[in-house]
Structures are given as C-alpha cells and as structure tokens.
Amino acid sequence: IMSDSDDDHPFAKYGNALKDLEEATSKPSSIPIHEQTVTDEQGRRRFHGAFTGGFSAGYYNSVGSKDGWTPSEFKSTRSNKTGKKTFTPHDFMDTEDVSDFGIAPTLLQAKQNFQHGQKRNLINERQLQVEEKKMTLSLGTELLESLIVPTRSNIGKQLLCKLGWKEGQGIGPRVDRARYQEENEDEIKEQPKVYGCYIPGRSIQSSIEDTFGQEPITFAPKDQMPVKIIAKADLHGLGYSGINPTNALFIKQKKSSGVEARMKSGSKLSIKGQAFGVGAYEEEDEDIYSMDTMENYDRVLTAEANPQDSYGWTKPKAIASSHKVEAIEFNKNEAITGFIPAEKKKFVERKCYSAPKLPPDFDCNRRLKLQHEVNRINEMHLSQPGNFHVPAAVTTAHLTAKERKTMLGNANSKEKYVSVFDFISPDDRNRMEMAKKKPTELGFTAGKNEEPEKLSKPERPTAPLVDPKSLRPFNNNPEKQRRYEQYERAVRQRKTDPYLGIDSDLTEWERNHERHEFSQLAQVYSHLTSSMKSKFTKATDEEQELTTAVKKESSKHVFGIMTRDRIEWHPDPLLCKRFNVPDPFPKSDVVGIAKAVPNFDLPSLKHQGPAERPILEDSELPQNMLKEMQKVSSGSASNEIKKNNDLSEVQSTKDNENDETAEEEERASMDLFKSIFAASSDEESDDENEEQEDDLEEPEKQKVEKVENLSFPPSMPHVFTPVNKKLSINEEPQQSTSDLLKPKESLASQEKNEEKEEDLFGPALPPPRKAGTLNSSKNDDSFSKRHKEKHKSHKSHKKSSKHKK
C-alpha cells in the first residue's frame, strides 16, 4: 500500500519501514520438514535421519576423530613414575552427557541419604523464617541444613510417631481447651473475620465447643521451637552478629515523594505512589523523587538510639528485650506412659583440692641457680691456662690462637685435630723453615724462580687471546681495529654487553651493524682458538726434558723445588664468587692458564665460519698487491689467482648491495669451493686480471718492490697461500698501511680522470670508496670492447663450460 502512495505523494519519509509481520512469522514454517535439522547448542547436527544412523550418528558426536577414538597421546612417565592414570566413565562421555539432562549431570546433588528442597517439615520451615530474620551476611550452614533434608527420619522421630505424635504438634500430654487457649493466646487474638453476626463476648473456640457438645476435647500442646544452640566459632564479642544485609542495604525509611493533602474535615489524605498515571497492574518504578535525607544515616553515637536498627555490628543484640528462653517443663505426674521424666538437672560439682603445702625451705629458683653455678665453675676452669683473672678484653690481646680457641670452648668439645707439624721434630721444622726462606741458597738455580716474581707483580697487561699480529681483521681501518680490540677485551672480561663501553662517532645504524659484525667475529675466533688449543700440541715438549730430570729427583725421594712448579692461574670470576673468594685478578681477561697460543694459521680456517665477510672486505685492499706477489712468488700461480678473483667477485657484489645477508655468505663459500675444486672453469676472470694489471701497472710497481722484500716460502698449499701472504704483510702494520694508502689515492685520482673522460649520465655514482673494484668493473667494459676478437676463443670456451654446468 505504502509503495503505491510513496510514488504519488511527494512526502518526505524518515526512518526504515517496519518489516511485514507475516514475513517474519511465517519464516520457520517455510522450511519443509525434511530440510529442518536438529542441532545441539554447539550447532552440531544431532539427528541424521533414520537410515543414516539416527540420533547422534557421525564421528563427531560420539568419538574423538574421524577414524575412531582419539588415541591417547604418549607421555613419558619418566618424571612421575608413581602417577598411575585411571580412567573413569566420565573420560569417555560427551559434553552432553555431563550436562544437566545427560547421563551423568555434574550438578551439585544431594546424596541418596538426603533430599533437597522437597520435604521440609514444618518446624524447619518456621525455624527458617526465624533464621531469615537474623540472617547475616555470612549465610551460615543453617540455611543449607534446612535445604538438605535427610530422607530417613531419625529414630527419635520414628519412636514419637509410633507414640502418636504428629508433625507440627508439641510433645507432651494432650491438654484441655482452657490450657490450650492460654498458650495460644497471642495467635487467637487475631480473630478471623466473621461474616454475619456472632454472639458478643464469645470466642470462636466457644463456638467450636458448641458444635462438639460435652465431649471432652484435648489438644496437642503447642509445638515448641527448639532453641538452636550455635557453637561459637569466631572471635567476635559475645552476642555480636554481622551485618544483616536486609536491614543494612535496603534502607526502608525513605521519605516518599507521595502527595499529601488535607481534607476539609481535617483528616489527612495522602496519595502514595509516584504518579497518578500508574495503573494497578503496572509495576511501580523506583521512586525517583524520593529524597535521601541525612536522617537515614547514623551520624551520632547515641546510646541505644533505636536498638532494633543497629544492624548488629557492634552492639550485642538487646538482651534486655524479651528473649525468654522457655524451658520445657512438665509435671512429674504428667509423664507420657512408658517414660519417666528426668530429674532436674544437677551439675556434678567438680572436686577441688587445695594445693599441696610447700615445704618452708623450698626455693623455686633452684634450677636456675644451679645452672649459674655450673657456668661459673666452667669459667673458672677455662681461665686457668691464662692464669690471670683480668677482664676478658685485656686478656684476649695476650692470648695465643690456641688459647683463644680453648676459651671459646673448642677444648670443651671433642678436640678436633692437631696440626701435622706438631708431630715433626723441631730440627726438621727448622730445616723446613730454611727451605721456605731461601730456595736459591740451597743450590738450586732453576729458571723457574722468575715465575714467583712474576706472580708478585700487581697486574699483567691484559694479553689478547691470540697473537695480535695474526688477528687483525680490520687492519686497514685502525679506528675500527681499535674498537674491535676493545670489544674483544670486553668479551673476555665477560661483560654482559661488550659493545657498550666502546666510544665511536658512528651513527646508530652503523653501530648496530658493527656490533653484529664484531659479535660474529669474536664468536668464530673464540671457537677457533678453543678448538685449536685442544688439537695441537708442541712437537718437542720442553717439559719432557725437565720431567726426566725431575723423575730422577723424585726417585731419589727428594721433593721440593725441583719437583714443584708454579704457574699463574686465573680462576673464573664466577668460580671465585661461588667459592666466596675475592678474584685474585679482577681485571684479568684470561681464564685458566695464560698459555702461549699455538701458532696456527687463523685466517686459513676462517672460511669455515661465518666471519668470512669482514675479512674479505678487508682483503680487498692489498688485493692488487697480492696478485703481484703471486706473480713474483711462484710460477704455478694460476690457481691462486683464480681464487683471488673469486674473492674479488664476491667483493664486487658486496659493494653493490652493501649489506650482508646470510645468502651472500653462503655464496662466498660456494665460490671458495669452486676455486678449490672446479679447477679451470673461469678464465674470463683470469683475463680480467691480466687486463687489470695492465691498467694498474704504474702505481703498483712500487708495491711489487715492497712485496719482493717480504720473502715467502715458494711452496705453499695453494688454497691458503693468498691469505697467508696478506697476513704476513700485516705483520708490519705501520709500514704497510702507510704504503698502501698511497696507491689507493692514486687509483682514486686516476679513476676520477676516467670519469671525466667518459661522459656519464644518470645519477651520480657513489663516492669511489673501493677503488680497486670499481676499476675492475670499468676495465671489464673497456676490455670487452677492445679485445672482443682476441678473446672469442676464450668466450666460447666459457660457454661450453657453462653448458656443462
């Protein structure tokens, strides 16, 4: 309807139209029955049709996995052997089974012996009402007890029932009406409404009497509320009860905002409630207009202002207010047949005997005095060796260690031990003293005498871990090398962050980079040194000769200086800490014995480790030199040159990317392998080198001379030689660095000239930091242009080799 009118009328429309009622309601019925599915609360299908298994078919309903039961996982029982897994039926149940309506609901339920909630007897009911009034925040066990009732009544109740007692009745002989009325006075006062008229002055009971005539009617006595005696389990004062929540939380005395009016006649008319518009069937809202006055709060400490409203926190519940505990009393005569009323309870008086009379000379402090006496005697006994009775402060100064020890009570206890020296005769002892004093006088002039002297020196300068000459990874960069040495020292001193103390003017990024680099390098070197240490030993043991001499000595039963050896040994700082001993060399970075490091070739082993990169980076500097060296040193240098070229290749890639990754490292090692195993595959690079050499002839001539001075053994293992040579150059750092810097500069200038000649377009090239490599690439181009024809054969050769790959 609306849609039609919408188009016609140009009214603006706000909001969304309500959905059609029919559409919403008719939706469930629109699905045909065969398409409706039964799902449980997790949304799993429950009924699968009669032919596909009925209820709860499918693996996910009953079993753990598609294939059946989930196999229990293997768990090692090594750590807890005692724990034995026992299965309960619950382990095999579904969640539905454990839910409220399943086979084994996990609700809290009363045991079989108890019923809950259903069979409350009258007494309990009434008691509960009383209890509820007194109910405190700590809902006691009373409430629970009233809720859970035993199914079987106790024997007392059963007996009473057999005697004719019924629930709700009091116990005792039945009473006649008059008495019953007396007892029930208060209840009867509230007389029921009587419609019509009744004879004034007559109670209902009398009317009852009328109906039953003269027949004497006896009534069961009024049931007594048993007094519940609760054991005191808290530390509150007597009569204290906690806050009653109903009283304390819901303040009833709020001033209503109800309207009050006065009629003309003077009688008050008040209209309660919030508003006029609230209907009888509507629930009243909270009285929002009610005023919370200060009267509602207890502001003044008054003595019993209103005893009923003090919610019980401090005040003992008004004892004065009639809480009469009525004792059940019977007449002796009115005992139930078969029962004899108990005698009035008599307390059995406890017999108190008077305390025994102490003898007149009894001394209660006797034991204490005895103890004092014993102490005094002991002291006397102890002070005998000193032989003077002066105050302790004075005596101790003159006492020997032994005497002090005895005074301290060691002598009293079992004597522990005596020094072995006590058994030695004085002559021997003198001899020993002599020996201690001057070993040289006794005729021994061993070279080891120096070592004790060494020990007495305060602190050795911290020696690096390995020979510093052989370990200079950043030789071309003295600043960096200095930083690295600092770093390494810090590592050996076991600082938590060895890079922290190093001062440099690098940027944050560079510092991070360097830190990473250093850590890797240090790791490799430490690994190398430790592994090498254990693998190598000196071919000729100096000790061997010594020990033979020593053996002779010992065979003569002469022990002493000749057989003794003293070496400075640095305990680990942590070990000192654990032994509670101050570190003898707090600034030392050596642990153990500062051994002479075996003189193995470190760099040759570097290729195994990840520290390859930094070394390569630095190897670039004397690269050209090395080539010259190889030329000079050996005729069979082809292999070496190849290797070198590989290194330079790696170098160039690195220059391009300028950040190191693990891939590159791997690649470098691959090249290394190639250089070793794939003997003559890359001849192009060979040519490159030749070309390079041609170009750089001039500046390098000086170097050649320099290098020639350094004599190398002509025959060296091929793989390791180049690096070796580099290192040997490093052995003279002052000279070489200064010398090496010159050609570098010249190279750079040369390159600049070249740049000017060739007009380069595009973005400016990065500053020519690594002159050699840039040159090489450029040479490549020029070379290829110039010598294309010349090297055709070579190229074809290369191609074929590539095909092979």
């Binding site: 750590s79 020997t400 260690a401 032994k402 002598a411 079992k414 004597e415 522990k416 031990y417 005596v418 020094s419 072995v420 020296f421 006590d422 058994f423 030695i424 004085p426 021997d428 002892r429 020993m432 020996a435 201690k436 020990l455 254990s534 020990t547 020593v550 053996k551 010992s554 065979s555 039963h557 002469v558 022990f559 002493g560 200086i561 057989t563 003794r564 050896d565 003293r566 070496i567 400075e568 040994w569 640095h570 305990p571 680990d572 942590l574 070990l575 000192c576 654990r578 032994f579 509670n580 001993v581 101050p582 003898p584 060399f585 642990v591 153990g592 014995i593």
Partner: protein, 330 residues
Amino acid sequence: MFGVVEGPANRPDAKEEKAPPKAKPRLPANLIHFIDCNQGAVRAVRFNGDGNYCLTCGNDKSIKLWNPEKQMLIKKYTGHGYDVLDAASSNDNCQIASCGSDKSVMYWDVASGQIIRRFRGHAGRVNCVQFNEESTVILSGSVDSSIRAWDCRSKKGSAIQIMDEAKDSISALQVSDHEILSGSIDGKIRRYDLRIGSMHSDNIGSAITSTCFTKDGQCTLTSTHDNTIRLLDVATGEMLGEYMGHKNAKYMIECALNRKDDHVISGSEDGHIYMWDLVEASVTKKLLVKRNKVIHSLSMHPEKDVMLVACENKIYMFADDFYELPDNIA
C-alpha cells in the same frame, strides 16, 4: 672423652720442653659389621657431611643411601647410564653429586630421588666428584684429563671453568675453602689456589690414585702406583713422610688420615687395611678384610673414629674400642 690427650701447642718452643705423653691411639680397628650392598661391585663408599649416613656407588648404575650403623637402606638413586664411580654429599645433606662411566655428573635431590641437574661435557669417564665448601659448585675430574667446575645454581649446562692442565686422567679430587687439589695419572698433584690465583704442581713421578689434604690444610697425602703413600708439605712441596708396605700398583686405592690426623690409613690390593703412624711411618695396624681382594675405597667419619671400607660388593664398618652401637640395635 677425657682420655684424649691434647696435641702440643703450635709454638715450637712449647714442644721442646716436653714430649706429649703417648696414649693409645684411637683407631677404627674393630670390625663392627658389614653390609651387602646388593648393587654389584661397590665402586666407592662415602660418608655424608655429618657422618650419620653413607653413600655407596654401585656397578649396577645406582647409588644407595644407607644408615651404616643400623645397616638400613634408606633410598636408592637410579639414573646413571653406566656404573657410578663417585658420589659426594652436599654440606646440608640435601643434595648428592655423583659421576660415572656415562661421562655425566649428576646433581640429585636426596629426599625425592630426582635428578636436579645433569651436567654433560666430559669427554670420558668421570672418576671423581666433589662439592665445594658451600655446595654451590660441583667439581669433577675425568679421564679426559680435565677438571670441570659446574654451577649448581644456574641452569646453564656448561661448566664454569675447565682446568685441563693435566696430561692424563684425573684420579682424585679434593676441595677446601679456596683450593682445589687434584691428582692425576700423569704423576702430578695439582693444587689450584683461587685466592692467590696460581696453580702449583708437584711431580711425584708415579700415577696418583688418591690424594687428600690433612685437616689443617698444610699437608697433602698422596698414594701412588709405586706402592707408596707420601705426605707432602703444601707450602714447599717437600716430602715429610713416606708410607710403604701395602700393595698399590694396579687399582685406584684410596688413602686417608684418621680423625686426629696422627695415622695414615690406606686400602691395599692384598685385602688388608694398613694403618701407619704418621710420624714414625711404621705400620701400627694391619686389618684383614678379605684375603687377596682389593680394598679400594674408604671413607672416614667426620667426627667419630669410624671408618667405612668398600670391598667387592660389601661395605665394612670399622670403629674404635670405645664405639657402641646405638641402643635400639644392640
């Protein structure tokens, strides 16, 4: 207790005046009883810190905790992969350190019997193990000729320090408050002094089987494979005494000093226990335990004159004349 004679004072002049009156030395020379440990060959027997209990290291990969007086087995500790070669109790007796042929050093909780830590790192059989004075470090000596210090407090599995100065396997270890004494098969006693920061080595010449400090820490007692035990001065390395007569050329025989340090006691390969007077170096007692069997391990009670000796699969308890078994046993 009152029969004990005080030793002479430390001052030399005091000693010159009068020689100490000789009294009958209290030596653990009476066999009280023996316990069949039921764990194969007993590799070592060790008293715990207070001497109330003892540990036996068995060939069957187990360690057993005993009350030697009551001959009662208290607990068995299993976890080693091969036979256990040595064990030590911590100063509070709450932990045990042990080592064995499985190259590992173990740190046990006494009460629960669980392994708190297992230190691996030795390349060979671990011969001896010791706690330091505060029981925060375990020191172990191995066939791989290294002594390793393991930290009980950290969870790192690596050793604090490795002392690999020895040229042959480490056979004996003892730790004082600031010294580590080790004996090696290469015939040298090495003493690492943590306080000074030095290592002293004394060349004895023959393979060392056992070494220990005297109670005052001034001398070391060392038994070697040339059938000799030597008493060396710690300060100078001079020999103070030499004790011979027993047989020790093949096995790792342990030696010890008695409680008063006036006698040297050692096992022997001929089935006897030998006791020498410390000064005179003469054999005062020779106890037969089992003929032609090796008495290899012995442990002295820290407070009483009681000694435990291991031979084959049994441990023997010796005590002095005044020793009485606790009431509930007698």
